[in-house]
């Protein structure tokens, strides 16, 4: 069975030959181990007096000629690494949200600020510093919001190429420069100020949500034009022990946008996987009402109970994820432990279908070999009918 067919049938709740595998992106270390080459130039290429001088002098003007090509290469190599590892489905991203501000900082066009840092393995990386918009005036004056048609078009070009190169071998789950509507808002305004904005600046919050919806909608439609069938929409709504906001408020603020987006995907014959970190137990009914086909993370370190979720919602939505990155997919675990966990997940979640297995998140500490152990075990024990 072709990986894409396996993924789509699983999202539709139809029988497949084995439990499909899903990869939520790979980070530099994993990627370097698979491809044997650095994802982006080592941090020292950026952190030296000459480069710093140019970055401080020209700032945003370097984004297009320097940063974007590096990101494009990086994004393609991530997709390639996931395919070489042998996953059925890969979170595939086109990333054009960053703008260089100076040698130490970048901004996301959607309103947040980042420090440029060394990731500890010698690679250049970034760290969220905080909100870029702290008042009505700053909101109105924010200079970086993109023209969504242009970004959608570049996303289209990227995915057209990726589909041609990798689409025949696995299912690309696409995301193109549009992050979750709520999380973008959270990063832009800062969590501590967000409740005040909700109360005092309702019109601006709604304008932001509308702009973010437009961006999501256009980039998603562009990816579908390029042949992507499965869309990955990521929006972190929860933390370790529950939703960050009242579920009713989440539904009221973001429900209409997500329903429209998901309907548009379905109208064109597509599927949508929704990723949200943390314990979303109180939100699953809402996500299902919005129309999602699959839900990813079921973060093992949070309070969510993936097995109970199978009982409650297992026939309404496809459960995706389950394998922990806090211990199992690190250098510290033993191969047998990974195999045991895979067997346990498959035994409990495999029967009845609507389950895809894979890491609960991307993380720079995941060794490629541990992913291989996981994938081998899935191929061995994941065949239907399940007989673990």
């Amino acid at each position: 069975m072709h990986p894409t067919e396996r993924i789509i049938r699983t999202l539709e709740g139809k029988p497949v030959d084995r439990v499909p595998t899903f990869c939520p992106l790979v980070e530099d270390r994993t990627f370097n181990e698979v491809l044997g080459q650095p994802l982006i130039p080592p941090h020292k290429a950026i952190d030296n007096p000459i480069t710093r001088f140019f970055m401080d002098t020209w700032g945003p003007r370097l984004t297009k000629p320097i940063l974007q090509p590096i990101l494009n290469i990086g994004m393609e190599k991530r997709i390639k690494a996931q395919q070489l590892l042998g996953f059925d489905a890969a979170w595939s991203m086109y990333e054009e949200t960053f703008i260089i501000r100076d040698s130490k900082t970048m901004v996301r066009f959607s309103g947040s600020v980042y420090d440029i840092i060394d990731d500890g393995f010698g690679n250049s990386s970034y760290m969220y510093r905080g909100p870029g918009i702290t008042s009505r005036e700053e909101f109105e004056a924010w200079p970086y919001w993109p023209v969504s048609d242009e970004i959608a078009h570049r996303g289209y070009k990227f995915f057209q190429k990726m589909m041609k190169k990798y689409g025949g071998k696995m299912c690309l789950c696409g995301q193109a420069s549009a992050y979750g509507i709520q999380e973008s808002l959270l990063w832009a305004l800062g969590f501590e100020r967000m409740p005040i904005w909700f109360m005092k600046e309702k019109d601006l919050v709604q304008r932001y949500i509308d702009m973010a919806e437009e961006l999501c909608m256009k980039t998603i439609m562009a990816m579908m034009d390029a042949g992507v069938i499965v869309i990955l929409q990521s929006d972190d709504f929860a933390f370790k022990s529950g939703p960050m906001m009242n579920p009713k408020l989440i539904d009221r603020l973001f429900g209409a946008s997500y329903k429209r987006i998901i309907k548009a995907v379905h109208d064109r014959g597509g599927k949508l996987i929704f990723h949200s970190c943390g314990d979303n137990t109180l939100l699953f009914d809402i996500f299902i009402k919005w129309g999602v086909d699959g839900l990813h993370a079921y973060e093992n370190t949070s309070n969510v109970d993936i097995f109970k979720e199978k009982e409650i919602h297992g026939d309404q939505v496809t459960i995706i994820g389950g394998v922990g990155i806090d211990y199992l997919l690190t250098d510290r675990s033993k191969d047998e432990e990974i195999v045991d966990e895979v067997k346990k997940l498959i035994k409990n979640l495999g029967p009845g279908g609507r389950f895809m297995i894979g890491p609960i998140h991307s993380m720079s500490s995941i060794p490629a070999d541990k992913l291989r152990v996981m994938l081998d075990a899935i191929k061995k024990y994941g065949k239907y009918p399940i007989s673990v």
Binding site: G120, M127, Y128, F191, E192, M194, P195, I196, F198, M199, F239, K240, S241, G242, P243, M244, M245, N246, P247, L249, G278, L282, T301, S302, I325, D326, Y327, T330, M363, S364, S365
Partner: protein, 212 residues
Amino acid sequence: MKESLISVQKAVNELMFDEIKGLVFACLDEGIPPLEIIEAGISKGLELVGEQFETGTYFLADLVMAGEVVKEAMPILEEKMDPGAAGQKGKIVLATVEGDIHEIGKNIVGMLLNVNGYEVIDLGVDVSAGKILAAVKETGARLIGLSALLSTMIGGIKEVVDSVVEAGLKDHVKVVIGGACTSEQLKEEMGADGYGETAVQAVKIFDKLSAT
């Protein structure tokens, strides 16, 4: 209890950001001492917010909002109070461990500790054990709160605990941990003194430890 104090309590509990200042002024006009307004009005209101958080009727954003409501009221009351009465429960050095930049949880914990009577020395995110110890020595704080969300960075907790021990401060300084990758079990493994799953529990644990 006086009607006006109940109104302050209700304003905090029901997150009435726009009303709180007026209600606090009304209490002061009636001659109610600031400390009583804090204890019977504000703290009690926060306690109710905490209960609603634990029973699942309030969420994180509501906790944040309650903090903002209290922040509106506190400057008015502090101005009228003896210096030193604020932060009366003691000092807490708070930080997210080295290599970890998750700050939302730490900030909420800090805000709740602050409005509950602690002086919080917030060192920010990605903070080394050395800096934390230096702050403890400099401020004389006897409590440390550590936030850790990345399991790759839990070593940072151990380093803080070890540096407290090495500095000979183990009997005086207590370390409390919290954040996505922490647990009661991790607390034991790292040799910390307390673990709090939520910001509401953080206040309870610090209250317990500072009483011992």
